[in-house]
């Protein structure tokens, strides 16, 4: 039986398939039965959809779809690598549906986020409070009727604190504790009750310790509330949202193409991968296939980004454990890669390099050579750091057996990427659902055994080597041909792109290396005026064209201005890539206009952090630092 038949046989009218223009598998589920459907899919169907990739919501207020909200579940089948999307429509008048926390631990945070952002409640959720915003915040910011720049500041003026304010603050904490005891989050209630019973016997009393949000050994803002029993962590509760920058709301305000700069700043250690993931989602929605060369370029740049990410992660981790030398060595290699990336993209870090339908600029002629030498340097540093760390007694002792997580818990909490692989599951999107041209390369997916910090460290070290291999192979195979595509998905050779130039010579013109005067009146301007890119193309014209020809300028103008430019047909699409920390997915919704109706990113470290407490409970307090380091939490992506 197909999945559809199985579902319909079991649930009848409560589950209906929704046709998807882009080929995703989508079912609409009655909200009251969502738990049963999920349970059935997780445990009994063939194939089993046993992994919750993402859970989010969409507010359809402006599209006129009734009911107003829909909660979206992205499921994944670990055995067959297939994806499935469930949609549970929820009316505005009664925004509540059953929780799926008993099935997947990661749903706890996802549902809290949906409550925070959309005001949709989940019946039976153990601890439904705000996640990204603060308690004083009124309203639900991702609802369409919340103005995107309505601020609710906590600090109102520039006057310094008065002593009385501090006293009031202490008073408030006391009061808070009293109310927490009766009505606070479950975890805190438990703790306070437990503590009361211990009162008087101070030797066995556990105590609370705040780590963060501004903590020396935590690169990234996060608040960990630890319950300590001596040196040991008994329980932990995490607070996030200290870098919430309204990425998803911001995407609804700007144009499709203008989202790229914001994606740079999600996981700012590997911005190119974010660029690629977003572009892939939009291209899926538009139904365009990019050119072969652009695919290779994207792969090369993604892998370079992955290397910088792992280098930074290990460097910072080692530094926090006291190994400053390793930090300096790796940053040196990273600096070299930054220079390389800068040569192609024009920026070191916030690159905005990928475009819908292609990339911003082609490789420079000496790129392969420079890239090879950079890879060589990375390998050298890798060797040196292996010598410094891998068998280093201190490092070894601090990493082995700490931050352990087992397979089942990791899956329960939706872990992906190196952290999941360290437990022994070799799930990697590049292998499981190959995208771009990853299936053409020969590379291995390293995985661990024990799921401890040391395994994660080794996995990352090995992944650097594997990424180097991919880059080398891609460079060797790099095909020629055009870089970008037009709206219909046809390939425009560079010379056709300029065909609209009314005078001859345009053919040779584009074969020339572009050395342009940045003004309209430069001595080369005559040539560049002749270039007239197709006004309907989705790809922004090259910068030198924009700056040097009126046609290019107009083309650019049209693509980024209100009401024209890229406007995919209404529809929804989900595309995922293997980010440096795990599956990075973009779910985009279009209503047919020139800006996104909703952009949802599935951040890999969000799920990792939602299960972080499981990794540190039982460890010593110093191990929290080591574990936090190997997770490689990036706040920009976590809080968005």
């Amino acid at each position: 039986m197909t999945l559809k038949e199985q579902l319909i046989a079991r649930f009848g009218e409560d589950v209906t398939p929704e046709p998807s223009r882009v080929g995703d598998e989508v079912y609409i589920v009655h909200r009251n039965r969502i738990f049963e459907v999920c349970q059935y899919l997780k445990e009994s169907t063939n194939p089993k959809y046993d992994f919750l990739m993402d859970l989010t919501a969409v507010d359809y207020l402006h599209t006129g779809t009734k009911p107003r909200f829909a909660v979206i579940y992205q499921l994944y089948s670990m055995s067959t690598h297939r994806r499935l999307r469930l949609k549970a429509p929820v009316p505005e008048s009664d925004p509540i549906l059953p929780t799926v926390v008993p099935l997947w631990g990661v749903a706890n945070w996802f549902e809290r986020e949906v409550w925070d952002m959309f005001g949709i409640k989940f019946k039976g959720h153990p601890d439904l409070r705000r996640l990204l915003m603060y308690d004083e915040f009124k309203g639900h910011p991702l609802r369409k009727d919340y103005p995107f720049n309505k601020r609710q500041p906590l600090v109102k003026n520039t006057e310094p604190y008065e002593d009385t304010e501090i006293l009031q603050y202490l008073q408030r904490i006391k009061q808070d504790e009293a109310t927490q005891r009766d009505s606070g989050p479950e975890y805190l209630r438990d703790f306070l009750k437990r503590r009361e019973t211990f009162e008087g016997d101070r030797s066995t009393r556990s105590f609370l310790l705040n780590m963060g949000p501004s903590h020396p050994a935590m690169h990234g803002v996060i608040h960990i509330l630890l319950e300590l029993d001596g040196e040991y962590v008994r329980a932990a509760d995490l607070g996030i949202g200290y870098l919430h920058r309204a990425f998803e709301k911001e995407c609804e305000v700007v144009k499709w193409g203008q989202v790229f700069p914001y994606t740079d700043r999600l996981n700012y250690v590997s911005p190119l991968i974010n660029n690629v993931a977003y572009a892939m989602a939009v291209e899926k929605l538009l139904g365009i296939e990019i050119t072969e060369r652009a695919k290779y370029i994207r792969v090369i740049m993604s892998e370079l980004s992955r290397i910088t990410d792992h280098l930074t992660c290990i460097a910072a981790n080692a530094m926090e454990l006291g190994a400053m030398t390793a930090f300096l060595y790796f940053i040196e290699a990273r600096e070299e890669l930054y220079n390389l990336i800068e040569e192609i993209t024009g920026a070191r870090l916030t690159i905005s390099y990928v475009r819908i339908g292609g990339v911003k600029a082609d490789f420079t002629p000496d790129f392969p050579e420079r890239c090879t030498s950079a890879i060589k340097l990375v390998r050298e540093k890798l060797k040196e750091v292996h010598k410094l760390l891998t068998r280093n007694r201190i490092f070894y002792d601090r990493m082995v057996g700490t931050g352990v997580i087992d397979k089942d818990t990791a899956l329960h909490y939706g872990f992906t990427g190196p952290v999941l692989r360290s437990t022994g599951i070799d799930f990697d999107v590049r292998k499981a659902n190959p995208y771009l041209v990853y299936d053409e390369f020969d590379f291995d997916v390293p995985y661990g055994e024990k799921g401890d910090n040391y395994d994660r460290y080794l996995c990352r070290m090995e992944e650097i080597e594997q990424s180097c291999r991919i880059v080398e192979q891609a460079l060797a195979k790099l095909p020629g041909g055009p870089l970008n595509v037009d709206h219909e998905g046809k390939i425009i050779p560079a010379h056709v792109m300029a065909d609209y130039g009314k005078f001859g010579k345009t053919h040779e013109l584009l074969q020339m290396e572009a050395v342009t005067d940045p003004t309209l009146s430069g001595s080369n301007a005559e040539f560049y005026r002749k270039i007239y890119p197709d006004a309907k193309a989705v790809v922004l014209p090259r910068k030198e064209v924009t700056y040097s020809s009126i046609e290019g300028m107009m083309n650019h103008f049209m693509l980024v201005m209100e009401g024209v430019g890229i406007a995919p047909e209404p529809g929804e699409a989900y595309a995922a890539v293997e980010g440096a920390n795990g599956e990075l997915g973009f779910f985009v919704v279009s209503d047919g206009s020139d800006h996104a109706y909703r952009v949802r990113v599935r951040p890999p470290c969000f799920t990792l952090m939602s299960g972080f407490h499981k990794m540190i409970e039982g460890d010593q307090i110093a191990d929290v630092i080591a574990t936090f380091g190997t997770i490689n939490m990036i706040a920009g992506e976590l809080d968005r």
Binding site: M133, Y134, P141, Y146, P147, F148, N149, K150, R151, Q152, P153, L154, V155, T158, P160, Y161, P213, S214, H215, P216, H219, G220, V221, G241, Y242, L243, H244, R245, A246, K249, E250, V253, P261, Y262, D264, R265, Y268, V269, T312, A316, F327, L328, I331, E332, R334, E335, Y338, R348, L349, T350, A635, G636
Partner: protein
């Protein structure tokens, strides 16, 4: 009564002393890196061997606000974070300076939305603004030198 008053207020001795102290202070900057976001990557790059912030006597970060004299605010500050930044600033001892690192801290940058503070100077005073998204290490060093100048020429508290 401060040391200055003991020495008899503004006179040749104290202006010389001011100069000497200014010179010393400018090369012994202990910074508190309040790192939140992407700008932190460039902060790291500035601190590491290529750009080597140590050359300017600002290599040693102090992770307690009470021991630091320059608060480096590196990265976006949102409204949830604002009270924390404010408290860290309050906890620092005089004399203290604040550097706004990155355009997010200067003006909110391109995050003009419900979550982000539109410039940290709406919550704490700022001495040097380093624009850029993120600023290149060279810009950071330039900013640091401006700060040194300010420290040297400013009125010395002791």
């Amino acid at each position: 009564m401060g040391v200055k008053d003991i020495l008899g207020g503004e006179n040749f001795l104290t202006t010389r002393l001011d100069k000497a102290i200014g010179w010393a202070r400018k090369y012994s900057i202990f910074q508190y890196p309040f790192v939140t976001a992407c700008c932190g990557m460039e902060f790291m790059a500035t601190a590491a061997s290529h750009h080597d912030i140590d050359r300017f006597g600002a290599g040693l970060p102090r992770f307690s606000p009470r021991q630091a004299d320059v608060l480096m605010v590196v990265g976006t500050i949102n409204h949830k974070m604002a009270p924390i930044l404010r408290r860290v600033y309050e906890q620092m001892c005089e004399p203290k300076w604040v550097v706004a690192f990155g355009v997010c801290t200067c003006t909110g940058g391109f995050y003009d939305n419900y979550a982000v503070v539109q410039g940290i100077d709406t919550i704490i005073p700022v001495d040097v603004y380093i624009p850029g998204c993120p600023p290149r290490p060279e810009t950071v060093l330039n900013g640091l030198m401006l700060l040194q100048e300010k420290i040297e020429k400013g009125k010395q508290v002791y």
